[in-house]
Symmetry: D2
Subunit: 341 residues, 4 copies
């Protein structure tokens, strides 16, 4: 299979290039970036110096990409609103699209407009796409022409609590989520705010109270529980390059920690990228850097009758590029962890 | 006034030495440390090289310290359980004690035992001490022989929400607190876990579900509201030297953001170390490093009817040594911010 | 005395504001910045929230500043080439100017052109200025209308070796200097290269082989030794906010370590900001953060007959704003360390 | 081939486990550590959670390891002085040993004693070992029973300058080396000095003037040039986890930059792990993290007639574990980069 990556100048695109360059079963044949067009891969992504000597960045021209017979699957690492334009051309030309923007994450145009400020640019195309976390969505998504990959925060929140809501282990009301993210979650930025001296030795909350990722989080939680779920979500920026810690406080539904673990074991037994840590063992982002894994654990607090649920992931891997490659593996019938260990 | 610091080898003790060395109205005459006894101050605390040339660390001998006529006030920067022993000798000798350990933070021996695993070593002495956050406790504590200084997390939690509970702006049930702390909060440690390579590029929750600081937090919240309050508190360690961010989710009691701000203005107007930031302006730990300030702000979320309340402080300053010097200033009738700007 | 700071939006300007805001003997009456004009100081520099409530940034209009009768001394924290224009207006109006740009660091217009690419814009004004490191230049500079403050690297290099060259302790040939600087040395930047994710976990050399600071370094070394001195200087960027370490390798002129120490003691005895560490005690930047000190030490290597000489400083303090305030103190006849401890 | 790792509790051992766990042509069958004996790999090295489920740490018993018929090659990640004891037993039992300590890096017992303070514990065994940097030593080392892997600093110094000395491009006198290392170079440490709060925001020189790695550096430089070479080497610790930058100042031997590049091209053409960057392009440690690559570049300074030569590497990869696996690949006739891309 031949693969193309559109918009590979950011951290997610770069991570996709690294992963697909060493993937044993696919050929990375096209990598595009308006900014880097004409550069050799190894010059623009120095971590790959000496590898991929024949490949260089080409321009991101949608119609040319659509006509390129050497590419079967395109990954889009583009801003929201831009991705949909490329997806339309590519899907019309029969290409499979795995999109990492926000353009194919929501089920309805209304929800998109509520959080992104304008109507969805192509609701018909949206209706043909599927939002996929492979460990959660076990259905027929493999044949969809477009896969919408989840955001980094949603992955860290949905994986630990979807089974608990489905199984009624936690209440569907009063869920409070706090997340801590490394700086790369904001993308590659030329802004004073994201400069080293401003971000080092600083922690801060942001995006309060209605971060855009709530749109997909609440959509999926509501679907899992059959009720309309509204949560409290507060992200924080902390001084590290990569990694997300999510702490979820959820009222116990007359359950105890062992029920959480039973629910998780049932849902995730044998899943190669989910590590269920013993109660009392908190996850660490550093354990997961450069892996596609998510580590989860939970504790019951008898004083409040809440569960305290934690997850950790690498925001660029399981939270973005790694999960997208995992999705590709499943579409192509490869082992789920091919090229990801 | 002549001042002594007992146990000055850790980060809090070191910060006390720095602050008191340049305080314009007191003389720092005694600095003790078992580990550093005999060293010149500037050798052990290189930030002070060239200052305090005549002062060196002496041994921490309680009876000698009690007999020292050149010292009026002692700051204790000792482990809990140890501080109480020194405090007894010093108070019996008529010295004033400002204690930074956990030994004089709780009102009852029972509460101490619940969180610290053994009965309080001297309940009678405990009953003569006062727990003080200067902006909250406006009473007669100045004459108490022993002041118990609050912990770093409690300061960051109590200052923003005590007035809100007193005024009934927030519910006294369902309060969820998440805090992010720099590594110095753990003290000066010779442990692999606290080594640079283990803590850099890592974030993690810890102390779940019953961190010791809950003892004083819930004691003070209960006192302010007149009800027994139990909260959910989850601290996290993030890779920076100093600083605490606290995010509090509290159900609104049929109130809106303006009520929070009215309550804060009423309680804290003119307080030199509390900055009330506009709603929507999140605090940053980096704005407060090496200051004795705490910055607070709040937002109402109409989707959940919760308040999202934030605070930021320097854990070694307003969270420990700075606040202790502020307390000393008030005891001695100095301007509250003397030596702290 | 009333003080103005022109161009206070960068890290050096901000540090000047902090220092002068709490200086006990001067009034900070004017702070300018095109970018921040109209903002309250505490909004633009959150570390100063609550202080200087009456002061706000004004626009940087040279003729208005020249006419302002409430200001006696202006600090210029402007880019090179811009500073000279302000200096001309201010000096013509009888103001004293302490300039932190490169515009008044070089003795000749030719040297300026060699390193800065264009002739000096005002050689006459240049000839009336003095380049000052207070511990080195003991002459009549106090009366000069314009003081050119040295760069951060030059301060870290000139202080340790000027006396050694003057005394002939080290050879004037074959001097090799390597420096490591924190990121704030590059200024407040909105560039991808200076973003957190690019600079954290990275070290790199830069500015090879002819960094602009060589112009003033070699000028001063040549003056001290009476010979034309050319050195090898390689700066490196390392992931910390502040601080410079300089390591100088210099051939011993038939001398031993004790001669270095004798030369330093002679030159720097009683200087409040120079700490001479014992041979074998390397300096640490962390010991000097937020201080105006420079720590120096040296070792003789019998295997090579070289001296290895180290210095450490805070690049924003002794390397820039702190030294500028020290210069102001000396001009005004204050204690050298007033407001700097 | 079956592989064992002895002493895998440190950073180098851990990196070996990671590399060999995913190496496609070898089986990792034994991993030992006194400290971790009995733990599952995934518990002790959380980055490997879920992988190697059948493998656990065993005790480091030399005679048992020697008798283990399931292991062909042992990597030793042990302290110097300890490694030699294991090596003797293992070699006597016919095992191949790849040692990462200092015990087999020096050609003579005298040189060992000069730098390590005691005579070499087994000069006969030493005489049967080979010190190997694969890109430099092209001889018969593959058959030696013991390979001594170079230290991290030596790798970063020898690769760039050995060909230049052999070709006479640089002078063999007056070579000055400064290196900057991340903290992991010191190993996994439970010492206050290596704690996060002490090492973050700090840079410092250390090991002056006679760091132990000089023993192997000067041995190899002398061998390459045919003259006894003494250099000046000053290492520095900077606040990052991994990575080494080395800056070498070497007098040009009537040569220019193009001669350096010609020498490098001749020596290293086709070598998969050496990237020769254009003159004026400085290397960055961040480009090399988690790779086995070394990036080198050079500039001629006409003002001093010196070359400024830079290298960057990941100290745990090309500087230790990665290079050891590269050596194993060559011994076993695998592609040099098998399992290392």
């Amino acid at each position: 299979m031949n693969i193309g990556i559109v918009g590979a100048s950011g951290y997610i695109g770069e991570t996709l290039v690294r992963l697909l360059a060493r993937h044993p079963r696919v050929n990375l044949t096209v990598v595009t970036s308006r900014k880097l067009a004409g550069s050799a891969i190894g010059d623009a992504i120095p971590a790959l110096r000496g590898q991929l000597p024949k490949l260089e960045f080409t321009d991101s021209d949608a119609s040319k990409l659509a006509k390129n017979k050497d590419v079967d699957i395109y990954f889009l690492a583009l801003p929201h609103g831009v991705a949909v334009e490329y997806a339309r051309s590519l899907v019309n030309a029969g290409k499979k699209v795995i999109d990492l923007s926000a353009d194919f994450r929501l089920n309805t145009s209304q929800r998109y407009e509520e959080f992104y400020g304008c109507p969805h640019p192509d609701p018909e195309l949206l209706s043909r796409s599927k939002y996929v976390i492979p460990e959660i969505h076990n259905g027929s998504w493999k044949d969809a022409p477009i896969i919408g990959c989840p955001g980094c925060y949603p992955t860290s929140i949905l994986i630990p609590i979807i089974p608990l809501l489905s199984d009624g282990v936690i209440s569907n009301q009063g869920i409070i989520v706090n997340s801590l993210s490394g700086i790369s979650g904001a993308g590659k930025k030329a802004e004073e705010y994201y400069s080293y001296c401003e971000r080092a030795e600083d922690a801060t909350p942001y995006g309060v109270p209605k971060h855009r990722h709530l749109s997909e989080i609440e959509q999926e939680l509501s679907e899992a529980s059959g009720k309309n779920i509204v949560i409290q979500f507060t992200p924080h920026l902390v001084p590290m390059i990569r990694g997300i810690i999510t702490t979820i406080i959820a009222p116990a539904n007359n359950n105890k920690s062992q029920d959480i673990y039973a629910s998780w074991e049932k849902a995730y037994w044998g899943k190669p990228f989910i590590s269920i840590l013993p109660s009392g063992t908190p996850p660490h982002t550093s354990d997961l850097l450069h892996t596609n894994r998510i580590d989860i654990s939970a504790t019951h607090d008898p004083r409040t009758d809440n569960f305290i649920i934690h997850s950790a992931e690498d925001n660029l891997m399981k939270g973005a590029a790694g999960q997208a490659v995992q999705i590709m593996n499943l579409i192509l019938g490869f082992p789920e962890d091919e090229g990801l260990i």
